[in-house]
Amino acid sequence: MKQIITATVQNRSGVLNRITGMLNKRQFNIESITVGASEIEGISKMTIVVDVNDHQKLEQLTKQLNKQIDVLKVSDITDQAIVARELALIKVVGSGQLRAEIQGIIAPFRASIIDVSKDNLTIQVTGKQEKVDALITLLKPYGIKELARTGMVAFLRGQQPSHVTEINSALSI
């Protein structure tokens, strides 16, 4: 099952290496991992999407992340109300009439063409992973020349339907 974990980390050198190294050593299957600045200077936010089969392994994952000295907070937000987005750049073969056709396909996805050349065009799409997947499937027949995805970034919505449990507080038992 796909789990979405966010981690707030101190922006020290080697922190990404420490975390990916630990995930690798403990045999977690990373689907995507993103890291970037947060609202506080010196603090970064990571979004990790992993494929974990059982609850025990998931618990291990959050505990091992929490154990890292540079990690300040870990949350499993899979079952929360969240906003999750990914950006993809897709370079598709297309000239002449095909361009208009492709434009018609991408319009409902609110994707945009950000680069056009003689034989191809580059489409930018943002959204949930499923949406990005769907657009890629639709564009495949036209011939995708290049594809780059950022991986997911996510956090909790401003309002939660129910109480949010933080992994940190569960740990201090």
Binding site: V9, Q10, S13, G14, N17, R18, G21, M22, K25, Q56, E59, Q60, K63, Q64, N66, K67, Q68, I69, D70, V71, L72, L171, S172, I173
Partner: protein
Amino acid sequence: MKVKLESEMRAVQNVVTGADLLIQSLIDEDVEVIFGYPGGAVLPIYDALYRQKHSFQHILTRHEQGAIHAAEGYARTTGKPGVVFATSGPGVTNIITGIADAMMDSLPIIAFTGQVTKTVIGTDAFQEADVMGITTPITKYNYQVKELSDLPRVVKEAFHIATTGRPGPVVIDIPKDVTQELSVGEYDCSFSLPGYQPTIRPNPLQITKLADSIEQAQRPVIVAGAGVLFAEATDELKELVETYKLPVTTTLLGLGSFPGTHPLSLGMAGMHGNYVANMAIYKSDLLINIGARFDDRLTGNLHHFAPKAKVAHIDIDPAEIGKNVKTEIPIVADAKKALQALLQKRIQTPKHDKWCETLAHNKQEYPFWYDHPEEYISPQGLIEKIHSVTNGEAIITTDVGQHQMWAAQYYTLDSPNKWVTSGGLGTMGFGFPAAIGAQLGNPEELVVSIVGDGGFQMTCQELSVIHEKNLPVKVIILNNEALGMVRQWQEKFFEKRYSESVFATNPDFVKLAESYGVKGVRATKEEDVLATLEAIFSYDGPVVADFRVCQQENVYPMIAPGKGAHEMLGVKR
């Protein structure tokens, strides 16, 4: 004008290098001894060591691996952090085994490693190694100090991280130009680690749950691990055990956390543990793990591990709880604090007289056993005799293999911090240098290093150190001219195909010792054992003793790999 000149003079005198700052930081941390080996990238540090007055001694080992294992032996027996210096490149890679070993066995180590100058890092410079990359997975934390102003703070942080919570190794990598850099003035040493706040006090709710479970238990058993030793909780453990008559088994690393001769002690559990200890775990209905990590050498096949037990686990590292064994009562805390909280509860002693009787019967009926061959020295008998000659009071360091298991089985310990062995990583070559560290940390104690002929040859160059410092370490080699444990597994599980496990030649260990200026003795016959031991232990100085033991001896009892505790082999003769 004159005044100004004076103030300038003083400024010049106060100028110190980064290396001087480092030495000062170590003095401030009350370091007593540093184990190390110089080299290009640490030349400024060694120069400061030479120039500057300092309160610690530096032990020059003959290989960096010797330095780090000595630091581990020091840390294990004193509870203080072991400090190591190594140069860049090969200096660092030579201490990797020891760092990994300290990580597995939770030993507080601070390793200072030299690095090439900042400007050439990343260019494959001479003696450059990616220390941060190599040590990240095997350290509790690591630093590369790029600014001199960070150095004093980093040292303080490192000592804090290494010695608190679950102890572990910390590496501080310092580029050569940082230690050479001149600096004046004071640096801010204050630090904050918001992501590192170990939970020390137990959750009262979980303590109540454990207290209730003890009351209701009919077949309770405690597994005591090294966490009891790190938390200095042996007195609390003993009080708990005696108050509620709870039988205790220990892990290999937990030996000494509870008196081995105590009537409620069941001895060591695990692959080569006691029948009574393993069966107690197997049949228990309440298993209380205090500071052990349910390693596979303890549990055997997890499907057969304590199948009927409710499991309570006290550990300072939350990640260990529920990692291998499903745990009903998780208690994240320092073992001492958890036991104190438990002792404050008024609990009824469980009704488990029958269980205690069964265990006492098993203990009586199925002790460790061995044959007494006439033509060879019995290795197990040898350990028993060492125990009796030293009154069971020596600090024992071991290597890894058969001799380690026999030492664990037959050198019954009654007091803590006297057992130094490589448990998690199983590092051959550990025992002898660890004895050097143990002796330096405990100058008044008798230190005996029980090693095999294989492991001893991995680090025997450190004989130079015990000669040079006149450290009265007694090295006892159980020489079976083979890699005994490998040979045993090949005999049992590979149809006696003894592939590369029997040595065609061995050095003359007596002459080897003598060439280093160390007394060497040898015994080849059973009847000479006692007299030789008396000679060793009455000699005031280091000794290497070559005991020719029976090569065919195997360690029993045994839980074969993949089997459960109920399938022990060699329980009875």
